[in-house]
């Protein structure tokens, strides 16, 4: 194998805010006025193994637009691209471990030639004490397609709920609110993923 050895990961540490959360680098509103789709607000808390809030975590999110199209050259399907939507967000938890962002609900995207994935938002969790970021996904509890989602089906059934955001009763402004907590460790630990990239020594 002529693969180059990868560069190791390290924690983002506690001092990232001035860089990663500067005015033009943080993104907790992913949609603009012209963006197509249903406005949603996602909110939650990040908790450690003692159930204590994590006040120095970063959530980065990545999603398709309302039509299920990613703004990326690898998504070469002939779907219209919403030019008013990038699909990327970067949010720090506050002193109480809470985070929130506003976006549009993503459309379904393909899994392979035959199957589709249920609408979901990819999330990377970084933080002090996390030597490598954690990958997870947010699904929506009002999506029937969750039951046949090929990625969710790889998750042990009793843990799938940790990936499903719960729709709240009241809208915040014009947005539907979903609740999604991230538990780093313990009984209700969120499911975290490893991707089969093939880059192993």
């Amino acid at each position: 194998m002529s693969r180059h050895p990868l560069t190791a990961s390290q924690t983002v540490g506690p001092f990232f805010h001035d860089c990663l959360m500067r005015e033009d680098a943080r993104r907790d509103v992913l949609c603009a006025t012209a963006t197509e789709g249903t406005r949603i607000r996602v909110e939650g808390i990040v908790l450690d193994g003692d159930g204590e809030p994590v006040p120095d975590a970063v959530l980065e999110v990545w999603q398709a637009d309302a039509h299920g199209r990613y703004k990326h050259p690898a998504d070469a399907r002939g779907l219209a691209l919403d030019r008013d939507f990038t699909g990327y967000g970067r949010i720090a938890t506050d002193a109480d471990g809470h985070y929130a962002f506003t976006t549009v609900k993503p459309g379904a995207v393909p899994f392979d030639a035959e199957r589709r994935q249920a609408p979901h938002i990819s999330i990377a969790v970084l933080g002090r004490g996390l030597l490598n970021h954690l990958y997870t996904r947010l699904y929506f509890d009002d999506e029937p397609a969750n039951t046949v989602d090929p990625v969710l089906r790889r998750v042990p059934a009793e843990r799938r709920d940790t990936l499903v955001a719960r729709r709240g009763g009241d809208a915040t402004g014009d947005a539907i609110t979903y609740r999604f907590d991230v538990v780093l460790q313990g009984a209700n630990e969120t499911v975290f993923f490893a991707f089969a990239t093939g880059n192993r020594s």
Binding site: T7, Q10, H17, A64, T86, F193, T197, S201
Partner: protein, 242 residues
């Protein structure tokens, strides 16, 4: 030093640190206990924000002057440069590189850093650039100092620069730290030590006399290799859909 080292690792276990590395105490309550669920790369992981994040100015890459005070930061001026590659060795062009670091005295501007090292009014310790067509990045900065932390008695972080990179795909995201070759604090640092030997080697910049500019700044070279789906099939991602 005896420490509990967890078995849960994301990515190549010969390179990446485990989530639990007891000597770095903040991992103890934050490392997951459940095995990671391995999933194939789908369109969600093969895509990512990397190709669209590009809002930088040339001034962003000069940390010695980007505080905007009109004056220069104090410290040993250094040039940090290298290339960003994927696992096949293919350069990753036009990708965002963000950095943050302590000042020459080992102090961050961050309000949570309260140890009595002096602040430098002309140094913010933040920078960014995008790689060029050959995957090369370059920063002008000052060499960061070591600083104490409360992980264990007399704990000092070795001089380092934090790096954040996206690459082309969600699966290629990397946040890491660059260390300077020959520093005596590295073997004492549990964050550095958390990575296995090959991983530690991957984070060390070498002094590069060919990068050093006479009468001006010392050169350090550090290449970064990203995980992810391998060689990019894209000519110039930014031209697509732009």
């Amino acid at each position: 030093m005896i420490t509990t080292i967890g078995e849960i690792v994301r990515g190549d276990a010969a390179v990446f640190p485990p989530y639990l590395y007891e000597a770095y105490r903040s991992t103890i309550k934050r490392a997951p206990h459940h095995a990671l669920v391995e999933v194939p790369l789908t369109l969600s992981e093969l895509t990512g924000p990397g190709p669209t994040l590009s809002a930088v100015t040339p001034e962003d890459a000069d940390l010695t002057r980007n505080a905007g005070t009109g004056a220069e930061a104090i410290g040993q001026r250094i040039i940090v440069t290298g290339r960003v590659l994927d696992a096949k060795g293919t350069p990753v062009p036009h990708t965002l590189v963000e950095v943050w670091q302590a000042n020459a005295a080992g102090r961050y501007v961050h309000r949570r850093d309260q140890w009595p090292g002096p602040l430098d009014p002309n140094f913010l310790g933040i920078g960014r650039c995008t790689t060029d067509a050959t995957g090369a990045y370059r920063f002008l900065t000052i060499k960061p100092g070591a600083y104490p932390w409360k992980n264990h008695p007399n704990a000092w972080r070795p001089p380092h620069i934090h790096f954040s990179l996206f690459g082309n795909a969600w699966a290629s995201r990397l946040v890491t730290q660059m260390y300077f070759a020959g520093d005596p604090l590295q073997p004492l640092d549990p964050i550095f030590n958390s990575a296995p030997e090959a991983g530690r080697a991957s984070m060390i910049a070498e002094y590069a006399h060919d990068v050093t500019e006479p009468e001006w700044a010392l050169g350090w070279r550090w290449d970064i290799v990203l995980d992810g789906p391998g060689a990019t099939p894209f000519e110039d991602p930014r031209e697509v859909g732009a």
